[in-house]
Amino acid sequence: MALEDFVDLKLDHHTKDGIEIVDVEGEIDVYTAPRLRELLIELVNNGFYQLVVNMEKVEFLDSTGLGVLVGGLKRVRAHDGSLNLVCTQERILKIFRITGLTKVFGIHDTVDEAITARKSEK
């Protein structure tokens, strides 16, 4: 990979079955996390309160990133919404486990599973 191809954090989002899917790729750390925070705030401000953050392509996550996700959860909950995660990578799941945040977030294996879980809650 050439140096100029390096992507620190790539963010994308689309709507599926009435739920906004946020695709995150790369590294979420003290440098890049503010961009994810801005996107989550923008989505909530635009009326998207049902969010699924797809972390399957996340290579690194630190406590700053966890803080942004918790912040997003607080914002959607203020509107009776939800923020669920898609993650199967052991190295990322471990960070949720050691911080006890597995009890705070719904963590699913696939985007479809996260959507189904959300719909059955309603």
Partner: protein, 140 residues
């Protein structure tokens, strides 16, 4: 003497560089592959909190990280020159003011969960976080 020493201006963008260097030196020191993710994350947390402390109190001073390969042990020491920060406003990622939702000191709690040997020392001169992992390397 440390095996590798890095000092960097306290900008969040350089924390990634510090993580990469620490992981490379850990690998060369014989830290097991399975532990490298822990080293990477713990060093990132320590550097993030040092960068926050410097940005608040002494943005012109560099953050220092020393990586030392000892017999059977890989040691990392991250030193900042900000005022004692644990639990204060400079408590690192998650501290008040950065718009985060985690309590101050959360980064240090993550480090404690990752490294099996962590020592945080706070003096008037700053905070030093020393942590180590087992390695198969020899002293170098």
């Amino acid at each position: 003497m440390a095996t590798v020493e890095v000092s960097f201006t306290p900008l969040p963008a350089h924390v990634r560089t510090a993580r990469l260097v620490a992981t490379a030196v850990a690998r060369r020191s014989g830290v097991a592959e399975a532990l490298l993710d822990e080293v990477r994350l713990a060093v990132g947390e320590a550097c993030s909190r040092a960068v926050e402390a410097h940005r608040l109190h002494c943005p012109a001073e560099p953050v220092r990280i020393a990586l030392t390969s000892l017999a059977g042990r890989f040691e990392v020491e991250v030193t900042d020159t900000g005022p004692a920060a644990r639990g204060s406003a400079a408590g690192g990622p998650g501290a008040a003011g950065d718009g985060s939702s985690l309590p101050p000191g959360f980064g240090i709690a993550v480090i404690a969960g990752l490294a099996d040997d962590v020592e945080v020392s706070e003096t008037a001169a700053g905070t030093s976080i020393r942590m180590s992992w087992p390695s198969s390397g020899i002293e170098s």
